[in-house]
Symmetry: C2
Subunit: 381 residues, 2 copies
């Protein structure tokens, strides 16, 4: 497997009321191409990760929509898998290159969420859930709250452990000018923030965001730049949509399956990873991800994150240096692509104030819904 990432960039994430999806994509693609030494004319396919353009924006056919915006007549298509749409678009772009049908392609993740009423967005997001959960009115905070409670009951994980996830990710975001919330918070602030769905509080939850991210992939790495980043593994697995149909509430089978396969493809293990972007849609999700990805023992995720060892500069593995979904923001279709952008920048050594020293191997972990889809990528320089 040899797919080179020639360029990668992201817009600022946040409440971007003054720009359209077209603006976001034009800007992020321009920046991505500028960074590589390629021109738009070399792009043979555009793979767009997006979830809500139809439900919220009444606009489908956005592969052709953005191809037109970019002045292209090449292949364009939308790939959707709820909050893992960006990761799935990346997987599709990689398949495109490895298939030999394409030499150079753009992977774009984009979502515009803040133009709509919060209740409309909450309802639209339930399009990722199971029939039973939708009928029961169980929104995603409620579903993750059940997982959190199950993890607390099974392993003694505490609300303070979860708070440490948000505190760390806000610290990282404070070093990231593209983050939606570039400021620090304290454990006390998390614990005293308004309850959303107990035990999850406001500061345990990722926000509603706008943003776009893009990656330029190629099988042709003849470039003036020398220190390319390569995709070494790309893997997808699924599980039941609804929690009631799963074997476990304290782990995601999809993450376990996808990561095992990815480690095998890349010939590395969890201990080889220097930097990872994981899907912290809620603080408990990062704790569970630490276990499912093999970074710590099963049940030890709470203690692992609250030890501080996954904070930038504190241990051998930095988690969510972008600020994660919690503090960098979570425009759902963009998130999986932004994770690639962050790890790419870390491996290139261009991550600025949030640079992980001597990062050589990175991982991304993007989840759809409450865990029915997981997408894992491993990158190396």
């Amino acid at each position: 497997m040899k797919v080179a990432i020639l360029g990668a960039s992201t817009t600022k994430f946040g409440e971007l009321w003054n720009v359209s999806p077209r603006d976001l994509v034009s800007q992020v693609v321009k920046n991505t191409l500028d960074e590589s030494d390629r021109s738009i004319k070399e792009v043979q396919g555009v793979f767009v990760g997006n979830m809500l353009s139809g439900i919220l924006g009444q606009q489908e056919h956005i592969g052709a929509f953005f191809a037109e915006e970019l002045g292209l007549t090449c292949a364009g298509m939308k790939i959707e898998g709820a909050c893992s749409s960006g990761g799935l678009a990346m997987h599709t772009g990689i398949m495109a290159i490895l298939s030999g049908l394409y030499e150079t392609v753009l992977v774009v993740g984009v979502e515009k969420m803040t133009d709509y009423k919060p209740e409309e967005v909450a309802s639209a997001l339930m399009g990722a859930g199971s029939d039973g959960e939708r009928e029961a009115g169980a929104t995603f905070p409620a579903l993750y709250a059940m997982m959190a409670r199950a993890h607390m009951d099974a392993y003694g994980t505490t609300e303070s452990d979860m708070a440490h996830v948000s505190v760390k990710n806000h610290f990282h975001a404070s070093l990231n000018s593209n983050a939606q919330f570039p400021f620090t918070i304290t454990v006390e602030q998390v614990l005293h923030s308004p309850k959303i769905s107990s035990p999850l509080k406001l500061l345990d939850c990722s926000p509603i965001s706008d943003g776009a991210s893009a990656v330029l992939l190629s099988s042709n790495n003849s470039s003036t730049a020398k220190n390319h980043v390569y995709v070494e593994a790309s893997s997808v697995a699924t599980d039941a949509l609804g929690l009631a149909q799963r074997k476990s509430l304290t782990s995601l089978q999809s993450t376990i399956f996808a990561s095992k396969k990815a480690y095998s493809m890349a010939g590395v293990g969890p201990h080889d990873i220097d930097v990872a972007e994981v899907h912290d849609c809620f603080s408990i999700a990062e704790i569970i991800a630490m276990e499912d990805l093999g970074f710590c023992a099963v049940g030890a995720g709470g203690a692992y994150v609250s030890s501080g060892c996954t904070r930038l500069g504190k241990g051998s593995l930095a988690i969510n240096t972008s600020g994660g979904l919690k503090a960098c923001g979570h425009p759902v279709g963009a998130t999986g692509v932004k994770q690639i952008v962050e790890v790419y920048q870390q491996l290139k050594g261009s991550a600025g104030k949030k640079q992980v020293r001597e990062a050589k191997v990175g991982l991304t972990h993007n989840v759809g819904g409450s865990g029915a889809t997981a997408v894992v990528h491993i990158l190396k320089k």
Copy 2:
């Protein structure tokens, strides 16, 4: 390029009020697997073509949704490109196999449209159009009517020419037990049917339909069956979403680009094609497709179709033996996959009453919106 189609099948298309999307997909996948000698356990990926599950059904994440229904934990994702979603899902499934990341995958196209009010469906379908067209209230019949008028003005194409497309496709559908409208009609009936958007009349227009189709693809063709069908080319191209931004109203640049590339990949020309399923969402679309695909000269499409030479048993090329979108039906996400199923059956010699004699090379042509996306596949036995 060597991707084998090991099985392919379709449900009946029509107003299927008593079955859910889950039912449709379960049924069509069971039939597809039964036809091949593979079990569901061998499936490593499910690529779902669908347009409207979000806008109409408020359900996204249907890759995982159907993977769960099929008892799978492998990769699942939705691919969307308006009415070309099925063709794009096929393209993605082919990339999956050629990439080496997957050995055996399912491509599923599905749409459930008749559970909703016609005005809701018409509005949802405009999600495939351009901003300006939506603001102007120009629905798809209006857009294709403009193309029809332009073709009449430029080349002398007549309403009678267009009527011959519908008459032929209904004749083919009368031989197809899975067709929505399995009965014949006359040119007079077409010409006297109610005007929808002049010059297009009711019987120039494809219907709103429910249905699902599936194809099993594999790089491993060691099977007890011997006469496999292979995918020899898969190509996608795009153009501007809106008619006003295009160079021509009498041809689709997307079809021209995609078919030229496909012919080159497969090492064949238009004269080598024995059977083709083309995107006749409106009768004029089949006339334009004849020209864009190189089956007749530019401007000669009207005379070509009204000569009757594309009717089963009449010439060297049979077009839309399934009945096409017009008479077999048009569940938008399923259509591009059903086209593959029909050509597969023709090449296998299992097309029953509608069998084309000694069919060896087949083509499918699937269009999104008013032509912003075109997907062309070439199959051989």
